[in-house]
Amino acid sequence: MSEKFNEIPMAGNIIEPGNSEKYKTGGWRAEKPIHNPEACLWVKNGTCGRCWIFCPDMSVILTEKDGKHAYAFNYDYCKGCGICANECPTDSIHMEKE
């Protein structure tokens, strides 16, 4: 974002397709979601996943390896909307100020 006027494409044209990936919208976040694995149904038995379903930015990362379920947020794109915390049936997600 430090480019001068003559170092960027004319008229705002985006000359590299798909470069929205590079735009880290996580920078918009005022509050970040914090996950507590103790009561989380995904971590417990690989069920629920409501946070994953409802996240509008695909920022909830649910993975499974050798029968173990891992939980993470992608903070590069999480805008901190809090939908995951709102949807969680076990109150395993809470929002904290950035």
Binding site: M1, N6, A11, G12, P17
Partner: protein, 397 residues
């Protein structure tokens, strides 16, 4: 090096018809327009050329001027050579897309038969529409005659599409006064024009094989930089314009400059006007010169970018410059043309007195006597050493 006589067709044409012929010869790809007086003949004639198979362009009869300019932006984005035409309320309906066209750097040629804005609704000439769009980022060239309209329309494509410019160009003629009056017009042969205007060579265009996005969002972090680019592009126009006009002069022997001066060298009072008023001003200058008055005139053609330095030099030695302009900036310190001229002269050591006469609104005739009235007033103001910031002439008050 000028084109031989047998390659020139001479016809009696209205300003609108002259522009239509220029558009026909400029080898357009797309013309999208919506009819409005007094521009209608431009598109009518062009549609006839299209119906008769004389042009290959896609003519898009859209449902509004907003759509006309939008279609032009889309076609121009693909890399097409594009033109449209409008006036007054139609131009006003394009408003949003005028800014889009300029900021997306689309080299669209926009011919306008300048007409008053409503209300009351009025179909006749003044410059309210052109002055209304003055900050849109369009280059603005105002023409005095049908011949100049033809010539300027051809040159406008080269100017707009030049890689150092890439901006839309408005070519203006006075509604009815030029758009509907028949004048002698010399037209070049098709092959000569074809060679002169060439084919558009787009810098970046929409192409599925090389995808890019045009017109995206830019917020606090980038918007300003794009405006810097745009501002620099339009400020570079005079250099390119002079080069193109020099080429055109080689072909035709005709040139107009950013403004035309007439008997200004020793003039104490200079008339400054635009478009068709420039012709009347010359007649007034000749008549007053016969009476021994030291008067000259300047007819400004390029309003955007405003040739501030050149114009300041041209009027700098006079005692007074009288501006006759056909638009009002309601509540402004003065009106559009005078604002520019006063600003242009601010740094000058010996500034001429600047008089701002608003005339001809809604097509009110501006006869030589109006200029003489302004001239007499100016002489009195010079004697008194002060003048009003502006005044209207030719209105019942």
């Amino acid at each position: 090096m000028t084109v031989s006589k047998d390659k020139i067709t001479v016809e009696g044409l209205t300003g609108d018809a002259a522009i239509a012929h220029a558009l026909k010869q400029a080898n357009l790809d797309v013309l999208a327009a919506y009819p409005i007086t007094p521009q209608t003949i431009i598109v009518e004639d062009y549609q006839r050329f299209a119906a008769d198979g004389e042009v290959n362009a896609a003519v898009i009869p859209v449902e509004s001027e907003h759509s006309a300019m939008s279609a032009c932006v889309g076609a121009s984005a693909v890399g097409a050579r594009v033109a449209t035409a409008s006036a007054s309320a139609g131009l006003a309906l394009m408003w949003e897309i005028l800014y889009v066209a300029a900021s997306m750097r689309m080299p669209i040629v926009f011919t306008v038969a300048n007409r008053a804005l409503s209300g009351p609704i009025n179909i006749h000439n003044d410059h309210s529409d052109g002055m209304g769009m003055r900050d849109s980022g369009f280059i603005q060239l105002y023409c005095q005659s049908s011949q100049e309209a033809y010539d300027t329309t051809l040159m406008a494509f080269l100017l707009a599409e030049h890689h150092d410019v890439l901006l839309p160009v408005m070519v203006g003629i006075d509604g009815f006064i030029v758009s509907h009056n028949v004048e002698r017009v010399e037209m070049l042969a098709d092959d000569v024009v074809e060679k002169f205007v060439g084919v558009r060579d787009p810098v970046q265009n929409l192409n599925p094989n090389k995808p890019l996005t045009m017109g995206p969002l830019a917020l606090t972090d980038y918007y300003f930089e794009f405006k810097e680019q745009q501002s620099r592009a339009i400020m570079g126009v005079p250099k390119v314009y002079k080069e193109i006009e020099a080429e055109f002069e080689k072909l035709t022997g005709r040139k107009y400059g950013m403004f035309e001066t007439y008997k200004t060298e020793d003039a104490e009072i200079i008339i400054l006007a635009m478009s068709s008023m420039g012709g009347t001003a010359k007649v007034v200058v000749d008549a007053l010169r016969e009476k021994g008055e030291k008067v000259g005139s300047i007819r400004l053609k390029m309003f955007r970018p405003f040739p501030a330095e050149d114009l300041a030099k041209a009027v700098g030695n006079a005692k007074a410059v009288m501006i006759f302009e056909k638009a009002m900036s309601f509540g402004g310190a003065t009106h559009p043309l005078a604002l520019e001229v006063r600003t242009a002269l601010y740094e000058a050591k010996e500034r001429p007195m600047v008089l701002d006469f608003v005339v001809g609104l809604g097509g009110r005739d501006v006869p030589p006597t109006t200029f003489v009235e302004g001239y007499e007033k100016t002489k009195e103001y010079l004697k008194a050493g002060k003048a009003p910031k502006y005044e209207t002439l030719g209105v019942r008050k």
